[in-house]
Subunit: 261 residues, 2 copies
């Protein structure tokens, strides 16, 4: 059976035992994948407040109380071992990437799981709206914009967006479709002229890969979960743990449960 | 000018100076009104988590950092003085009702403002869906159901619902309309047989007034913000302050901003 057809539980087992070390995009298709941030309890209220104030880039799927490592949204899962790659940041700087954070996980560690755009990409494809990064087998293009998120305590960040090129007609359909997925970034935050949101060169994304923009297409921008990583790092905490880009936590929630109607 | 036509700012000024002491239903029409809970910072993370886990009854509109009394959603407002009536609870029991809580508000007090169903009632009426409690000039009927909310730390509560009777065809329309207002309780949580959610007698609501149910009508139930009060009281904290029923905080947000599409 191909990894695409695995259950979320099977994929997590392969990851936990070290058999799966790659990115999770496309694996266990149909299950909600999540961005992850681990912070000390002392900063948890302010970070949760940041997410609440910026629900488009940072939609809260699950928060685990201090020291808890079993999420509510995945049976028998363990957030310390079930992601293929973790990024360890010390004082705001990337220190290392590892495949297990059990040794760093403390009694006061609070884990946040936040929605990711993988959930709505399937719905776009089902409606014949192109998802260029999937067509081209690359990572989605992501950009740091000039828009400020709302602050909460010491947490702040510029809004990060992902971009998918399409025709204006397809963009209308994409607005309709992604509006349904309000817990996984929802409707676009911008369409068209990139300079209006402080992006000077679409060919040079801040994260991910550039994709082809065809004649007659416009770029369509969605709020992106990478915003949560930038926000978590903005406080220069001694230790912050996140998923490594593309190496997400895979939940038991079906994508369709993210749809509001 | 009638109170219905006042701006939110004007209504708050009348309340602050003691000229307005009544319920806020129908006043400053078109502006979002909010349930309010004040708790010590020590319990703020868990309570915010409770709201996040139960977004239908407890939709977060605004949270004010410890000691802050100016909300983000209302200009020049003061949550210590701008509600017409507050309920003071000590160790989970109602102690008194007052019109000013400045003397009780501390450096570590965190204020939560949560969505309220007043926002979607106007939209129902505009679509000719009856809102019986408004027709009859009474408070909406509210019931404590047998459904458990998801817990967060020490916070727990049964789900409280509000009920509006209508025909099945009107109920279909009401589902469509209130789906748009996902930050103010959203779509109904139940329709029809009250016993399925543990309500034995519609004529005896736990809060508010009974309303007439006409032949051919079914009861339609929405998650209700009173749930947040029950949850806040479940921890038996030395001091919890909430709005008094019907005496809400009136924000500067237009109702239409609560609509997702």
């Amino acid at each position: 059976m191909k990894a695409q057809d695995w259950s979320a539980e099977q994929l997590r087992r392969e990851i936990r035992t070290g058999s799966w070390t790659e990115q999770t995009s496309g694996a266990a298709s149909g299950y909600v994948q999540a961005n992850m941030v681990m912070l000390p309890m002392q900063k948890a209220f302010e970070f949760l407040l940041f997410c609440n104030r910026n629900p488009k880039p940072c939609p809260v799927l699950d928060v685990l109380e201090p020291g808890r490592f079993t999420p509510n949204i995945a049976k028998d899962a363990d957030v310390r071992t079930d992601l293929p790659k973790y990024s360890i940041y010390r004082h705001g700087m990337l220190d290392s990437e590892v495949s297990d954070v059990s040794g760093l996980f403390a009694d006061d560690t609070v884990t946040f799981l936040l929605g990711c755009s993988f959930s709505f990409e399937k719905a776009l494809i089902a409606a014949n709206v192109p998802v260029r990064n999937i067509e081209e087998g690359s990572n989605v293009s992501m950009y740091i914009t000039s828009r400020d998120c709302k602050k909460a305590g010491d947490f702040s960040s510029k809004l990060v967006v992902s971009m998918r090129p399409m025709t204006p007609g397809q963009a209308v359909r994409a607005v309709q479709i992604t509006t349904r997925y309000h817990i996984t970034h929802g409707a676009p935050v911008h369409m068209g002229d990139p300079e209006q949101i402080g992006i000077s060169d679409l060919a040079n994304p801040d994260f991910g890969d550039p994709v082809t923009i065809r004649p007659g297409e416009i770029p369509v921008f969605w709020a992106c979960g990478v915003t949560s990583t930038l926000a978590a790092l903005s406080i220069k905490s001694p230790l912050v743990i996140t998923h490594s880009p593309g190496h997400m936590f895979v939940s038991d929630l079906p994508d369709e449960e993210m749809a509001i109607f």
